[in-house]
Subunit: 880 residues, 2 copies
Amino acid sequence: MSKKFVYMFKEGHGKGKELLGGKGANLAEMVSLGLPIPDGFTVTTEACTQYYADGKKINSEIEKEIFANVAKLEKEMGKKFGDPVDPLLVSVRSGSRASMPGMMDTILNLGLNDVSVEGLAAKSGNPRFAYDSYRRFIQMYSDVVMEVGKAYFEELIDEMKHKKGIKEDLELTTEDLKALCLQFKAEYKKKIGKEFPQDPKEQLLGATAAVFRSWMNERAEIYRRMHSIPYSWGTAVNIQAMVFGNKGDTSGTGVAFSRNPATGEKMLYGEYLMNAQGEDVVAGIRTPLPISKLQEQNPKIYKEFTDIVARLEAHYKDMQDMEFTIEEGKLYMLQTRNGKRTAAAALKIAIDLVSEKLRTEQEAILMIEPKLLDGLLHPQFDAKALKAAKPIAKGLAASPGAAAGKVVFTADRAVELHAKGEKDLILVRLETSPEDIAGMDVALGILTARGGMTSHAAVVARGMGTCCVAGCGELVLNEKAGTATIAGKTYKEGDLISLNGSTGEIYDGLIPRVEAALTGDFGTVMAWADKYRALKIRTNADSYKDTKKAIEFGAEGIGLCRTEHMFFDFEGEKRTIVIREMIVAKNKEDREKALAKLLPMQRKDFVEIYKALDGMPATIRFLDPPLHEFVPHDEAGRQELAKHCGISVEEVKQVIDSLHEFNPMMGHRGCRLAITYPEICEMQTRAVIEAAIEVNKTAKKPVVPEIMIPLVGEVKEYLFLKDVVVKTADAIIKESGAKLKYLVGTMIEIPRACLTADTIAQHAEFFSFGTNDLTQMTFGFSRDDAAKFLEHYYDTKIYENDPFGTIDFTGVGELMKMAAIKGKASRKDLKLGICGEHGGDPASVEFCHDIGLEYVSCSPFRVPIARLAAAQANIKNPRK
Amino acid sequence: MSKKFVYMFKEGHGKGKELLGGKGANLAEMVSLGLPIPDGFTVTTEACTQYYADGKKINSEIEKEIFANVAKLEKEMGKKFGDPVDPLLVSVRSGSRASMPGMMDTILNLGLNDVSVEGLAAKSGNPRFAYDSYRRFIQMYSDVVMEVGKAYFEELIDEMKHKKGIKEDLELTTEDLKALCLQFKAEYKKKIGKEFPQDPKEQLLGATAAVFRSWMNERAEIYRRMHSIPYSWGTAVNIQAMVFGNKGDTSGTGVAFSRNPATGEKMLYGEYLMNAQGEDVVAGIRTPLPISKLQEQNPKIYKEFTDIVARLEAHYKDMQDMEFTIEEGKLYMLQTRNGKRTAAAALKIAIDLVSEKLRTEQEAILMIEPKLLDGLLHPQFDAKALKAAKPIAKGLAASPGAAAGKVVFTADRAVELHAKGEKDLILVRLETSPEDIAGMDVALGILTARGGMTSHAAVVARGMGTCCVAGCGELVLNEKAGTATIAGKTYKEGDLISLNGSTGEIYDGLIPRVEAALTGDFGTVMAWADKYRALKIRTNADSYKDTKKAIEFGAEGIGLCRTEHMFFDFEGEKRTIVIREMIVAKNKEDREKALAKLLPMQRKDFVEIYKALDGMPATIRFLDPPLHEFVPHDEAGRQELAKHCGISVEEVKQVIDSLHEFNPMMGHRGCRLAITYPEICEMQTRAVIEAAIEVNKTAKKPVVPEIMIPLVGEVKEYLFLKDVVVKTADAIIKESGAKLKYLVGTMIEIPRACLTADTIAQHAEFFSFGTNDLTQMTFGFSRDDAAKFLEHYYDTKIYENDPFGTIDFTGVGELMKMAAIKGKASRKDLKLGICGEHGGDPASVEFCHDIGLEYVSCSPFRVPIARLAAAQANIKNPRK
């Protein structure tokens, strides 16, 4: 009952962003630093939770607290809510614990009504400003609070401009704006059935509730899921006295970063617009000036601002993303937060902060979001091809990277095409808005006609590590025709363009891309990560090429070599037909004949992989998928197979039919296959061992193959196959006269394997957690089928994260812990690793560190991410 | 190294059947009781294990020990192995810890060779006997040790008889037998490529190894699996001086039970044959005399024998199954063991032993194999129909019960037809042999032309609780034609007959059968069981009829009412079309319309079930299977549905296609369905609650429905649906003005539910373990698909039991224990039960008792089994 739901900014210092949200906490900090902040208060995240608990109602207790603080604010500001002479106006903004830019709603100029607008006009001596503010407020309130949409309001403005024969909003007169206010209120009444609310208190409660509600809007949900932000956190609401950047030419508003968010360079970086409100800058409706211009225009304000920036950086020890407003020549800070940055910038800033002695190496490592590295590791344009290409247009280099692909004009269409398998899509928009988030997520690159470096498109693309060129003036969109013109050439959906997000240049057609070159900063941070991590990082690779790539990225061995990939046609070798020949074989003898043909192919693959590894360990998983994954599903394939094997098509069909399974995921696969056909296990052992003997003849450091039996649920399964492996391997080794060490272990991917890990570990030299299957079995749903209901599960908040993305610590993680503890109890030197896709997920890497695994294994491109995540894990929870 | 692998019988007292096998231990006991036993020794089960560990070799240590004991035996008997004048002859018999009658191999007369046979002839003064023994030995040795099969030897005997124009083996002369010995040895040499071994030591080692090997023969494996006997136990080998029942008319051999194994009546019961060896009686080749005849033929021996029987019963406190041999007027006991018995006999014997003060009630309960009760609970012939029917023939009433069905002439064919869905099969054989075991297992009844009450067919059928009529002289089989003639009428496969296993009568055609009447003994034992058990027994039932039946059998409520069964056409009500209408509904409104039609049907079902229960609890599981299980799979069905719903067939097809799942077991089912369509959950809640309110209006004891949410893996799934249930239920209750208590709980069948049981139990009032799904998920295989590889798993000893038959204590059981402990920790009064099929398996019932469940639930026919098993569990491990 005595819970405090509202804090004045000056009370908030040290209360933390869990309670006040990021924005609220930072405002409180800035107030405590004595910076010029318009006063205000924060309604806590707990109030938001309470709002939902009360069935989406602001209860009377919270309401009372809000108005008690309104009274304090009125006293501070010397203005009164709804005052006809000098009204208090406030902004109402969301602010959750984690930054979710543009995901939730904001309302400005709240407190205006038909009476107070006149007061504001008189007091400011600027009636045009007052009515512009009022029409903006009506528009935002209608859209955000009453959810009538803003399209019709925009149409009314366009109509007015058309009628008057003008182009810019700024050309509208006071009378025009007064007329618009009347039209807007009429539209409101038409849509809502009531007059536009004149009581500022009603306005405030409505706006506060709307911000709470926006915590659950669709784009916020998508963003939360993308960034693993729990639904339960809720958002705070910040209610702050308005200051106006649109009070004429001595007023203005801007956004700035204390360092360059694209490169990390230590320089003030940002944009501002005079005679404008913040939304004009952020939404990219007018193209703003670079912040450096402010030094020329107003050196005093500029000096004051740079001093504040320095104090904030020293305070937060991180690059700051700030909003400010100049009202009639006075500077106000509206917000500061740690700035989003590109991967390259994150590395540079971290390194610079260490050089500047603001951060230790460990702290610097913790500052870098591992997933960001992804952007650095992806292809860049081929330098030669790029040199030869001529850009057709140029925009702002909003988010670095290279993208080349098919043009698509709406976010929905991008999502649709992506679902159909189109991977290289360039989303081309007039400007992006938060509704476009899902489409931006699937796009390879983003191109906009409007907006600057801090526009929605630019901020979100950098956060995603997606290449983006913004504000390209030569881009004209024709939404009706579904085409765009770039520098005179018309593009329709599916036409090809290339974007260079690092220069802002746009090219016609596809420019070939090459692998990323890893810069010096990357090397420095990776070297730090390697210094501080305890986990080893291996890779999932089953070819020379992937192995090489992974080693470049710092892999220390192979954690999962899937041998079944080697059974498909590869580099001109007809392999599929041979595995099919084995499948239709009528007896062991015929099966062995087919396997004998596969042996040299698979042996060759291992030779190449071992050579790439140069003595590093390789865990080789034996055949896992059910045989029906290898059979032909078309008539031509069946006929070819019949001909190849000299049997009838009918016989081929019979074999294929006999392989049908009701639940293939839980069928005849993994070790179950090799138990039925031990000759497969023999052949694979032979390939692994013979290749190792061959490579070790000339290798400096001998390879020690690790043979991994998949899908073990009962120790006797493992023993049966271990026996086959050891007999086969030892016979080959003996015959060769060579010396060869090899290990035999198992994948832990069946719940029963975790439960009986003590027994299995008595015989297995290593465990590797196969968390994909383990997740499926533990949850009892198949990944393929769960898609149908998981969407609905997210909607209903039953799950908030994809358990296939991050390990489910509560369930699957519990089984892993159990297996690790039981396994180690039986065999002290049991090697423990993970080779499921979770091995490249930072949160999962941290979990693996915490439960004492020796290594994680992930796809080559994820290796650097895993290295960094492993270092962070060990810094947070050092391994003894 | 100092492990002792061989024990003389006189050393074996108290060493136990784990080491000596059942037969060996009993021989040692009998020796210690001073009974007349031919001396010998036992090679232990540990030697068998060692034999397999050594790669199927008898190692030198064991060999040395065997021959050291041969030397002792020679000394005891005053005869020498291979002695040309008075050779020591031995039998070599298997003997595992559990009785496995006829499953493994035996060799008699070992020690005979071309020289010693002459000694035996001279010493016994009976050359015919000597050569008959020799030819039997060659035959058995060739078959069992060298595995050449016995068919050709039988042909040679038939040829000889044909040539001589005689019918009976006994008519063969010494010269005939000598000639046969030569022919047999020639055949041996032809098949094996070496002479028949003349060295008795070589013979002995060969025979011992053969017995060890027989532990792994196919029929032994099937038997072990049927009776859950672990492979690891191994078999002992008993080597015993031969005594001969075929030394002429003062010799004989017999088998007897101390009480009637079919009825339990306290009377000596058995058969014997003069001038015969044991195999003649057991194999049913000659039809023996009832044991009572022995009293007339040889009252002294009879008296001696009955005294021994009395001593053995007093010693073992159980009905004994004994083998004896009379050699030239002297009685020898060859074996005793607790006798196999029918369910009726088991009950009567247990009750009688208590009356005789040999056993306490608790001990008596422990003597009854719960699975046996099954036989008592199954149908008997309709008394009226039976009275009207005239038997066409009569055999021995070998195993009680009533069977009526289609005739089949081979075990393989029975298995084949059974797999195709034929349930009522009568296996008709000349005589059965251990190779027929699989066919006998699937047959409803067994009829043989030869063999007595202790023949293979009779013993095995009683063990299985299968109706059997044996030794029907009027049955003539024509194997070539694939027909049989019974009392002149010819029957071919598929023709109908009926068997009365309690009278031995055989009928033409089908006699209708009625439910079993539960006899007084049954009631007595059930009353004892109820007195001593702690577990409650519920039933799985979803109709009035099943519920009634289960209550007759002693069920104390419903543990699982599967509501989906109610969605199929039932008692003339068209229900399927309505659930299909719901499935193709395009929106919630249409779905609710269809559900509204289902509501009164489901409500009516619940009303009837509640009435049957009369206040006992009912756990009602909400819709579980995926929706595609309800859709029509044929064109006609699709057309009907399209017409019914007024949509196109194409639309119906689209819906059906959209329901396709890759792994339906792990798909959109259980609570996942109701989360997508909460209106289903609402309708079901409504039906459950409205029915309860209606019934409680007039009920003496109000019903308390227990609503069970299936397939929960995450507490939020449960909470989502609990909320729907509670809101719906409370509104109905409030509106009705009635008072109604109801519980909401969940099925625990997903591994993750076990791992998070503490959280779930905070909100669930009960858990019911769904061990079918839990087993599938924990092992990671689907029951439907696993059949493909499980057979091979049994062959390779990876699994020895069907985890769907008995709970896998190590894996699945561990999860259950965890869930029980975690659940109780959160909610002290959490109700715990099991409703998987394991609830009717005695070993699983014991496990459920041990981990502290409150009840088990099983199919109606299993309720008495569960009651008995629950009592046994509580006697072994009393609950505090």
